[in-house]
């Protein structure tokens, strides 16, 4: 394992954290949009309370992955920015609208129940739906190996270079997959966080439904995938054990939900989604951008990589205790009260 592999692995870890934490914040927005039944308002309330203190911190995982990418693998960053300009710009629109609408909704003058503020809640929820879809689509574009360096183009070439890589059934199916996965994570986490039993049952039903749906979308993404991707996902030496583990995690999550072992369900769901992500990473090794840009070829000078690694270690020393504190204050089952 080279230095570049190590750094690439760490970047992927940051993305993994973003999917588990930031992804669930998007998923919360999806359930806000789909809130129904007699406890509709209460559902929205607990979702907002769960997201409020943590979403900005969770969001930084994406920034961290991004800055590490352009520091350590600049050609990959440059190519992503060029060829995925359109979907990434749309993702940015979604991120901006989601974040600002959420705060306008929660902090915009009047009380939380203020009906005049609800339109911000709607913007927040719709942006939470669209952003993961587009984010997943860009992942699909990368995984499918559509981002070869074909140079600039206009007219028909414009479509081939800037649109076709992401506007295709496989990439879109990965987008749907991301959306469902984030919604699943959010519902599972919420079963741990809410205290009222009826609400918990609401989210349990949602978790079960989205967990089952996840099987379906995963399967359709696999069927739609280009042959090379499917080959790696099915026939590589690591493929079978990984699929078995993922399947075991998925079954555990659903079973735990059935038997109301909330914390076990949360852990299993997180493992399940992480394993799927790592399956993607392994399937495209040694390429950072298939079909032609390898991790080694994209890596910056060793001096930069070493310093980035040092900065990561140093940063982790500050970051991990702070993160632990944040989640202990807001996410521990029994609320700590130091007063």
């Amino acid at each position: 394992m080279t230095l570049a592999d190590l750094v690439a692995g760490i970047i992927f870890l940051a993305l993994n954290a973003y999917a588990l934490l930031g992804g669930a914040d998007f998923g919360g927005g999806v359930w806000d949009l789909l809130a129904t039944g007699p406890r509709k308002e209460r559902q929205r309330e607990v979702i907002a309370e769960a997201i409020g203190p943590v979403w900005e911190a969770n969001h930084v995982w994406l920034i961290l992955a991004l800055v590490l990418l352009f520091t350590c693998f600049p050609p990959a960053f440059a190519r992503l920015g060029t060829l995925l300009h359109i979907p990434l710009s749309l993702v940015l629109f979604g991120i901006v609208l989601r974040g600002s609408a959420f705060t306008f909704w929660r902090y915009g003058g009047g009380g939380h129940g203020d009906p005049g503020q609800r339109h911000w809640g709607v913007v927040f929820a719709v942006a939470s739906l669209i952003t993961p879809l587009l984010l997943g689509t860009t992942v699909g574009a990368i995984a499918s190996g559509g981002l070869a360096d074909r140079g600039a183009g206009t007219g028909g070439a414009f479509y081939a270079a800037y649109v076709a890589p992401w506007l295709n059934p496989f990439a879109l199916s990965v987008g749907v997959f991301a959306l469902v996965a984030f919604a699943f994570l959010a519902a599972v986490y919420l079963t741990v966080e809410v205290e009222e039993p009826e609400l918990r049952e609401d989210f349990r039903r949602r978790a079960l439904a989205s967990g089952v749906a996840l099987f379906g979308v995963a399967l359709s993404a696999l069927l739609l995938s280009p042959a090379a991707v499917r080959g790696a996902l099915v026939f590589a030496s690591w493929a079978v054990p990984l699929h078995l583990l993922t399947g075991a995690a998925a079954v555990t999550a659903l079973a735990a939900l059935c038997y109301r072992h909330w914390r076990l369900a949360r852990a299993a769901a997180a493992v399940q989604v992480s394993l799927i992500l790592w399956g993607w990473a392994l399937s495209q090794r040694p390429y950072i951008l298939p079909p032609d840009l390898t991790v080694a070829a994209a890596a910056g000078p060793p001096a930069t990589l070493r310093l980035a690694l040092a900065a990561l270690v140093l940063g982790a020393v500050v970051l991990l205790p702070s993160l632990y504190y944040l989640f202990r204050v807001f996410k521990a089952g029994e609320r700590p009260s130091l007063e």
Binding site: V54, V67, P336
Partner: protein, 453 residues
């Protein structure tokens, strides 16, 4: 509109939008922490109320700052992929450190905003300190990256490729010190005066309102010292660019000809074709004196480089003049405040002072925007001064006018909403009956000397 122009405009709009929130995100936490600390020391609940109200406004602004900053990080790749491909390994380091600063900032902000009754008052205050420190740190790191674009260092150029990359040396570039000092001071001066100005406006109606009196005091403790130091730090910046970025200084001063004993040009309109500045007042020898501390020093003019390498001279010159005028005004008002505070006068009842402070509300922010126009427009046509041209850095993606217009509309929309929300929040404060009659004891009133600012 050419793609290059669209890309430049989109970048400029995004940065100009973000900087407003970034500046607030650097200075507001400090003011909240001071208010909260005073509450803990004095036991007066009015300070707690103040800290909470400021925190509420900051929460909204911070979220907009975070999302607009995210847009910027992506835009570096969406608009300038070739710049990032070159610069990433050299100058990615401060961006990565900035990433960690964002993390601690966002974590402690979450704890600060939502943790009022979840953690002990001491822990809460420390969370606020964490936000203030990491906010300042993120600003410093990103300005170091910008300073490197102005004074590139830490690599060697061989056949258009960077070799012997040394990220530490890149961070220690020649512009870093002057720019980070000037920017950090700017954040405190601009936010301090904006907040002080709003409360001064409300005090003009109701000078005995204890709530606004204390808010004014804290805002001035943060803003006034920074505003006094700002011209000194500006002098440091000017002397730096005189040596390292002579074209930028020449454009800022509208100095077309290289000369010894150069005069300082005040006002005027630079006529680029005629290579002369009309309607300007000139102070003999002053530019040489300011830039090199020697009245006979040679100051390079625009004629030192080919015409194609000139930035937009009128824009840079006017922005520079604007910044200096506003900076002088803020410094004078600050000295006035300091003098009255030293004499233990009641600031809030001094109507002329309150008018002057209220008038200054937007000035710091305008100066910040103007200063950045000097820095960024003055660097053109280079994105990395002397190394990479902006036109060579832009993405090959066509049709950039579409995202430019889309993001501009989005920012206009967000800007209007943010202003409206803050306006509503400020409107709510002066009618608070609970603090109306609460009179402040004469001692410890309106001085700028207590507690570290």
């Amino acid at each position: 509109m050419s793609d290059l122009l669209a890309a430049r405009s989109q970048m400029g709009i995004s940065l100009a939008f973000h900087i407003v929130f970034a500046v607030i995100g650097i200075a507001m936490p400090l003011m909240m922490v001071i208010a909260e600390r005073r509450w803990q020391v004095t036991g007066h609940d009015i300070y707690l109320d103040l800290a909470k109200r400021w925190a509420k406004g900051t929460a909204t602004l911070f979220a907009v700052g975070a999302v607009s900053g995210t847009v910027l990080s992506f835009e570096l790749g969406l608009l300038w992929p070739r710049f990032m491909e070159f610069a990433g390994p050299i100058i990615g380091m401060p961006f990565s450190l900035e990433g960690f600063a964002f993390f601690t900032e966002a974590i402690f902000l979450g704890i600060y905003l939502y943790g009022w009754d979840r953690i002990s008052p001491r822990a809460h205050l420390w969370a606020g300190v964490g936000v203030a420190v990491s906010g300042a740190a993120s600003g410093i790191f990103v300005v170091i990256a910008n300073a490197w674009m102005n004074a590139p260092a830490g690599f060697e150029l061989v056949d258009g490729r960077a070799v012997n990359v040394d990220p530490i040396a890149a961070m220690g570039n020649a512009a870093a010190v002057s720019q980070t000092i000037h920017m950090t001071l700017a954040a405190y001066a601009a936010t301090g005066f904006a907040v002080a100005g709003i409360h001064a406006l409300l005090l003009l109606r109701d000078p005995a309102n204890a709530f606004h009196r204390r808010a004014l005091q804290i805002a001035l403790i943060v803003g006034a010292p920074a505003a006094v130091l700002q011209p000194l730090s500006g002098d440091l910046s000017a002397r730096h660019i005189a040596v390292h970025q002579p074209v930028k200084l020449a454009a800022a001063e509208a100095a077309f000809a290289t000369q010894a004993g150069a005069p300082l040009t005040l006002g005027g309109w630079p006529d680029v074709d005629a290579r002369a500045t009309r309607f300007a007042v000139e102070i003999p020898y002053a530019l040489s004196l300011l830039a090199f501390h020697d009245p006979h020093a040679v100051v390079k003019g625009l004629d030192a480089v080919p015409r194609d390498d000139w930035p937009n001279v009128p824009a840079v010159h006017l922005s520079f003049q604007l910044m200096v005028v506003l900076g002088t005004y803020l410094a004078v008002v600050s000295l006035w405040v300091g003098w009255l505070a030293w004499r233990r006068r009641d600031l809030a009842h001094n109507r002329w002072l309150m008018r002057a402070v209220a008038f200054a509300t937007p000035m710091g922010f305008i100066a910040v925007e103007a200063g950045w126009m000097v820095t960024e427009l003055g660097r053109q046509p280079w994105v990395i001064y002397g190394v990479l041209r902006t036109s060579d850095a832009v993405t090959p993606m066509p049709g950039l006018v579409v995202p430019f217009l889309a993001f501009t509309l989005l920012y206009c929309f967000l800007g209007v909403i943010v202003v409206w929300l803050l306006y509503r929040q400020i409107l709510q404060s002066p009618t608070m009956p609970e603090w109306r009659g609460f009179y402040m004891p004469a001692k410890g009133r309106g001085t700028g000397k207590e507690e570290g600012a």
